[in-house]
Symmetry: none
Subunit: 240 residues, 2 copies
């Protein structure tokens, strides 16, 4: 993912500096760094933004400020507008997930993408919506759908990251070999046999299978199999 | 999606009331309503929580408070712990997306799921991690991965919501409650103590944590916990 092809996040007339900072943090969490501000209510720069950005200062420092939305999107090839409502009958609407996939296929080609977020209190107005190719909706709880600004930025970035970076696989801890596990199970079985655990011979296969299932489910590491051997040794002792 | 089968969100020793409120809001955005608090630093209830919850008051009002994590998870069948780091070599780790899919298949069966979130400054400690069946990681930007508490809750809820509407999942077997598993672990510990398993007092907490991790990973059913009790009884006998 090249930095230059990442979507530009545009906050249109944001009201509170602390929200701008939280947006910057959410952006960087998702690997996004290109922030633009259209006519921020309390001017720019703002110390409160820096405070809530945590260590995402570089997003704050490189933020670009524009007087109008048209200037902010002038160099963009495609514009998405986030909205809580379906305000338009004519602009296509995608979920954040579908929009991210579309963005990805667009940037695979060429050109800059902008995603617009409206002021905290009101969201984007009709003028801003009219500049969008596509609206983006977040399918939250319909009875309580209102996201705050930084949460909306986070979810958009999260969906972007999902398609832009493939890292869905996390290596599992290294399990013991099946032979090591079998060594423990064999010893456990023999010990239980000596202790009269299996009430009848006919029950034995079923009980053994249950034990095998249970200990296999642990996905125990080599270290853990050693621990189990230690437990078995201790339990076989007379009380100290 | 029935309200009762939704995951329980457990905030372990949360520090700031305003963050608890923002978590409540993020939860309700995703249709989650079951909030538990373990030993909140500034007590409970807190007005700051209500203020930042926006209109998610009902999540705040129905929040349950516990003195210890063990009490908070006693009736849960499966416990997930969110973490920014891979702190354990042995507990399986899933992305939020994969964890949500697993949670969904588990609740299709029956039983309560808990998802743990640690204190703002430090995250969950080793004691809490040892109580988890599975760790949950958020694959954010590796160079700037630290999510704030409410953002982590939002992303978990978002992933849950994504799968909660999907209905193509096979039910998992019913796990024992955490209380039932704890009953076995307590008895095992006492028995090992009598047998002199713990060579030194200083090693004991680490060994206990390893045992807890191992047996928690089994996701044992009630029937399997009974089997383990039977094994323990048998191993304590003299040879027949």
């Amino acid at each position: 993912m090249s930095g230059n092809q990442d979507p530009v996040i545009i906050l249109v007339e944001p009201q509170l500096g602390k929200n701008i900072g939280m947006c910057a943090r959410a952006m960087l969490n998702c690997g996004l760094t290109r922030l633009r501000l259209v006519n921020p209510r309390d001017g720019w720069p703002q110390e409160t933004a820096r405070a809530t950005a945590a260590d995402a200062d570089r997003v704050i420092d490189s933020a670009e400020v524009f007087a109008t939305l048209d200037e902010a999107i002038a160099d963009c090839h495609r514009v998405y507008a986030t909205t809580a409502r379906n305000r338009s009958q004519t602009v296509p609407v995608l979920t954040a997930e579908a929009a991210a996939a579309e963005m990805k296929s667009t940037t695979e080609g060429k050109g800059s993408i902008a995603v617009l977020f409206g002021p905290e209190a009101s969201g984007l107005d009709g003028e801003a919506i009219a500049r969008a190719d596509t609206l983006v909706r977040f399918p939250t709880n319909p009875e309580f759908s209102s996201l705050n600004l930084a949460q909306a930025v986070l979810l958009l970035g999260w969906e972007w990251r999902r398609v832009a970076v493939d890292e869905t696989v996390i290596p599992a801890p290294e399990a013991a070999t099946r032979e090591e596990l079998d060594g423990f199970l064999t010893r456990l079985t023999e010990t239980l046999d000596e202790k009269g655990f299996f009430l009848t011979e006919s029950m034995k296969p079923h009980s053994l299978q249950s034990l095998r299932t249970l200990f296999t489910k642990t996905g125990a590491t080599q270290q853990e199999v050693k621990l189990l051997h230690g437990v078995l040794t201790a339990l076989g002792r007379k009380d100290k």
